[in-house]
């Protein structure tokens, strides 16, 4: 059969269930020896077969599993570090086979790239064939319809000729969306009709859109970037490379692509549950109030919330975290301010017990470092240690341990602002020193040890009283009760700022995937035939039958329905089966 005479038959891979081509496994063994080209062709055929696609799909599913068992560098870098610490022997071996980068690993990429090569090798011939099928005539009516699905017959209506009946069948079929062609075989007129080309169209759209998603994702990763930046209330960020705390550019990214707009955090509102006894302190809402200003524009007030990112100047700004940034001022023995800043403290638990670091490189006899704990609502555990019992500012307390020596920042190697390398430092308070850690509430000042100077935890509430020196008074003075600390400590927001130029493309292809899928799974592709047959006794009857192409549960009902509409209900209420095994119905007995 040539493709012209039977459109649809070899359009799919040779081992498709509906394919009429011989199974490669069934080809005779005494084939001539394959040449190089022959081998290539053979390999290509294997790669683009349904079986290969299926195996590659299953392989892809299996290959994706390890990435959920072992922490991944892309999504959980700290987890990877932890894993190395916990499994010092196993981790390097796993790393050797890219277990911490599964989804960019050679083997994972190999599988999906092969799958997509197979997919493209599948789509192209099928698309070509589908275009031909769209233009081809429905195939010749089979000689014997009685062996086909839903076969039924009706008497020729009174006073009608066979040709007229076939004409009207053709007309009705065309009206219900079939492409029709009339044939005459041994004097018996018939109409051959086919519908549901949309099914194959949907299937091809679906598979092509898969390729589209892959390509779009690849490009998006290449030209986009993502960066993180912590901004304290009152601070401003300018969108330039240097202003980011961390920055991951795509492969083809150049920093001329950054629009230098200004983003200021006016305030960050945090709301916590206060009434529901089972959820006290649970976050209810975080809202960052920001102003955005382009290079030559007016500042605009905007908000960023979890689930409600800000889209501005070609970037997407997400609120991914927040915490407290106590304002700390350090003066030296002469009373000169050597450090003053709002220092972001990283939250450690749900009640925002936070850790932060102060580094004072200049203005002191030696460099000074401080490691601090911040408790928004300080509570003392039975062990005497402090913890925070509520995430909001009820009883904020800052404790500081002071170190003196070499901060290790002079040689230019980048160090994290959130950690202090104490190996070259001498501890002056807390721990084993015998000197109590410094402990401050907002607005309080304490002496540094050894007469080095003072440190103040500034109260940033509007109209706050000037700092009180607590060094000579009892640290537990009763001033805490009844004081409202709600505004006394600044908050910070940590923003993720992204640019993904192909995100919309991915979404569009995803929509095509879904649409193509719906069409290809629910539009039935079927052929139907009506034939006027002259019986040996000279009686002319109309025969109806159909053939499913792919899954088509409603096929037999469709034949009966059409026959009823065309020639009226069957005289003897023959029971035509409406059961489910539609596609493979030939052996079905009409009981």
């Amino acid at each position: 059969m040539s493709p012209q005479s039977d459109p649809g038959a070899p359009s799919r891979p040779a081992d498709h269930i509906d394919s009429t081509e011989a199974d490669p496994g069934e080809t005779p063994v005494n084939q001539p020896k394959l040449g190089f080209v022959g081998w290539l062709r053979f390999a290509w055929r294997q790669l683009t077969s349904m079986r290969t696609a299926l195996l590659l799909l299953l392989l892809l599913a299996i290959a994706a599993v390890p990435g959920s068992l072992v922490p991944q560098r892309s999504s959980d870098p700290n987890g990877v570090t932890q894993y190395f610490d916990d499994n010092p022997r196993l981790a390097p071996i796993l790393d050797g086979v890219q277990m911490f980068d599964v989804y960019t690993s050679v083997w994972f990429s190999a599988i999906y790239l092969l799958l997509f090569v197979s997919l493209i090798g599948c789509i192209i011939p099928r698309t070509k064939h589908h275009f031909e099928a769209l233009r081809a005539r429905p195939p010749r009516t089979p000689v014997r319809l009685s062996r086909l699905a839903g076969y039924t017959e009706r008497a020729l209506p009174e006073g009608e000729t066979a040709a007229a009946a076939i004409d009207s069948a053709a007309k009705q079929l065309r009206q219900s969306g079939y492409r029709v062609e009339q044939y005459e075989l041994r004097g018996e007129p018939s109409v051959s009709a086919e519908r549901g080309y949309l099914r194959e169209t949907g299937n091809l759209v679906f598979h092509s859109a898969l390729v589209g998603v892959l390509v779009a994702v690849g490009f998006g990763g290449g030209f986009g970037f993502s960066g993180q930046r912590v901004i304290v209330e009152g601070q401003t960020f300018v969108n330039t490379l240097a202003a980011y705390d961390s920055f991951n550019p795509g492969r083809f990214f150049t920093d001329t692509r950054l629009t230098p707009y200004r983003l200021s955090l006016e305030s960050l509102d945090a709301v916590y549950e206060t009434r529901n006894q089972d959820a006290i302190g649970q976050p209810i809402d975080f809202t960052a109030h920001v102003t955005v200003q382009g290079q030559d524009g007016e500042p605009e007030d905007r908000t960023v919330k979890v689930n409600e990112p800000l889209y501005t100047h070609g970037t997407d700004v997400y609120l991914l975290g927040n915490g407290y940034a106590p304002t700390i001022t350090v003066k030296n023995a002469e009373g000169d301010v050597v450090f003053t800043d709002a220092v972001p403290f990283l939250p450690q638990d749900a009640n925002l017990t936070s850790i932060g670091v102060v580094k004072v490189p200049d203005g002191m006899p030696e460099q000074l470092g401080m490691v601090g704990f911040f408790y928004p609502t300080q509570t003392e555990l039975t062990s005497g240690a402090y913890t925070s019992s509520y995430p909001d500012l009820i009883l904020p307390v800052l404790t500081l341990n002071v170190y003196e020596g070499d901060l290790g920042i002079d040689d230019g190697t980048p160090t994290s602002v959130y950690s202090l390398d104490t190996s070259t430092l001498e501890q002056l308070t807390g721990g084993k020193t015998g000197v109590d850690s410094i402990e401050l509430k907002p607005g309080e000042t304490a002496e540094l040890p050894n007469g080095l100077g003072t440190v103040t935890f500034d109260d940033v509430s509007p109209g706050a009283a000037p700092a009180v020196d607590v060094s000579d008074t009892d640290a537990d003075s009763a001033d805490a009760e009844g004081r409202n600390y709600a505004q006394s400590v600044s908050r910070f927001a940590s923003f993720d700022i992204h640019h993904d130029p192909t995100q919309m493309w991915v979404l569009a292809f995803a929509a095509l995937i879904l649409g193509g899928l719906l069409v290809s799974l629910f539009v039935p592709r079927r052929r139907m035939w009506v034939k006027a047959v002259t019986k040996p006794d000279g009686r002319v009857v109309l025969e109806y039958a159909a053939l499913a192409r792919g899954e088509d549960p409603g096929l037999e009902d469709a034949v009966t329905g059409f026959a009823d509409k065309h020639a009226g209900p069957a005289a003897s209420a023959r029971s035509t089966s409406n059961s489910n095994s539609a596609a493979d119905a030939p052996e079905k007995s009409s009981t």
Binding site: H16, L54, A61, A64, G67, N307, L517, S579
Partner: protein, 331 residues
């Protein structure tokens, strides 16, 4: 004593479990009776070839009309235990629905925001899909009653005993319309996959029975003799699974859109995303298998079974033991 909405909801959960248990027993008795009926039928029609499967005498199955069929199958549709099973399932469903709605009212939001609520709503959807196929689509799947009520009972029991948390407000990341859409559609596809899974299991058992019969050996007559043949079961399973697959595709996409809003990227290979992907790929494999020579039938049925196993794994093990951004089990 004044009961809170949530306490009434819990009462409904436990009542529903009791009624599901009764339904389960009724369906099990029915299966036992089917075996007996099949044996009796074989005796009565000794000359009827063993190979021929005996159709259930359901109204939707035209095969029972055949005169050659053993009387047992016709009598079968009137099985009292089957009716009790269905009636009890409907009653349990009403209680279950009330429990779910009350939980939603108690929490002041959709009742699917933590493990307990996923389980409560997910199992409700399993039963709903089962009843819809039974009552609205009029496809006689009552023989799956034992499986469905058993599965729902077990999952509901685990949820009520181990996953329960009192209703608490939503954390900011979950305050989104996508919670309503994404999680609901995901639960619905799980309901469909469960049904597809059950059909595939029965299909495999039936296929085994048929292949034994084909070799003309004596077949042990079990309830299988009263069920549709393996090809019918396979087609049914396929149709249910593809609807589940489409919904899962949507789940995956909706999840990505939500992830973009909440976490700043639409795809990041977070553990839950990985497993959503794996499930999707396995079912895509299943659909391909159905269209591949040599893979139709039992092999593709195994893929549907593996598919549902990954769904269950995703819901239980991944939620409870794997680390990731989707830490919303509430436990």
């Amino acid at each position: 004593m004044q009961l809170t909405l949530d306490e009434i909801s819990i009462l409904c959960v436990y009542s529903a479990m009791v009624v599901y248990a009764i339904a389960f027993i009724a369906f099990s008795i029915d299966l036992a009776r089917r075996s007996a009926a099949a044996t009796a039928a074989a005796d009565a029609a000794a000359r009827v070839e063993v190979k021929e499967t005996v159709a259930v005498g359901a109204p939707s199955s035209p095969r029972s009309a055949g005169a050659a069929k053993p009387a047992a199958s016709v009598a079968y549709g009137r099985s009292p235990s089957l009716r009790v099973g269905v009636a009890m399932t409907v009653l349990a469903w009403i209680l279950h629905l009330s429990a779910d709605v009350l939980r939603g009212l108690a929490a002041g939001r959709v009742p699917w925001a933590n493990m307990y609520e996923f389980a409560l709503t997910g199992t409700l959807i399993i039963t709903t899909v089962f009843l819809v196929v039974l009552v609205v689509v009029k496809q006689d799947l009552r023989f799956l009653g034992t499986f469905i009520t058993g599965l729902v009972l077990v999952l509901l029991g685990i949820a009520a005993l181990n996953f329960y948390v009192s209703p608490i407000p939503l954390p900011p990341a979950l305050q989104s319309v996508w919670l309503v859409i994404h999680v609901f559609v995901a639960s619905a596809s799980v309901g469909l996959f469960a049904l597809g899974f059950a059909l595939s299991v029965v299909q495999l058992m039936q296929a085994r029975r048929e292949s034994i019969a084909a070799t003309a050996k004596a077949v042990k007559l079990t309830f299988l003799a009263t069920l549709p043949d393996s090809v019918t079961l396979e087609n049914l399973a396929y149709r249910i699974n593809i609807i589940g697959f489409i919904m899962w595709t949507f789940t995956l996409m909706a999840g990505s859109i939500w992830a973009e809003k909440a976490w700043g990227r639409y795809w990041g290979w977070d553990t839950k995303e990985v497993w959503t992907f794996i499930i999707w790929v396995v079912y895509a494999g299943y659909i391909h298998a159905r269209a591949t020579r040599g893979w139709r039938g039992s092999r593709s049925a195994w893929l549907a079974i593996i598919g549902f196993s990954t769904v269950l794994f995703n819901f239980t093990v991944v939620n409870l033991f794997f680390k990731g951004l989707h830490a919303y089990s509430g436990l």
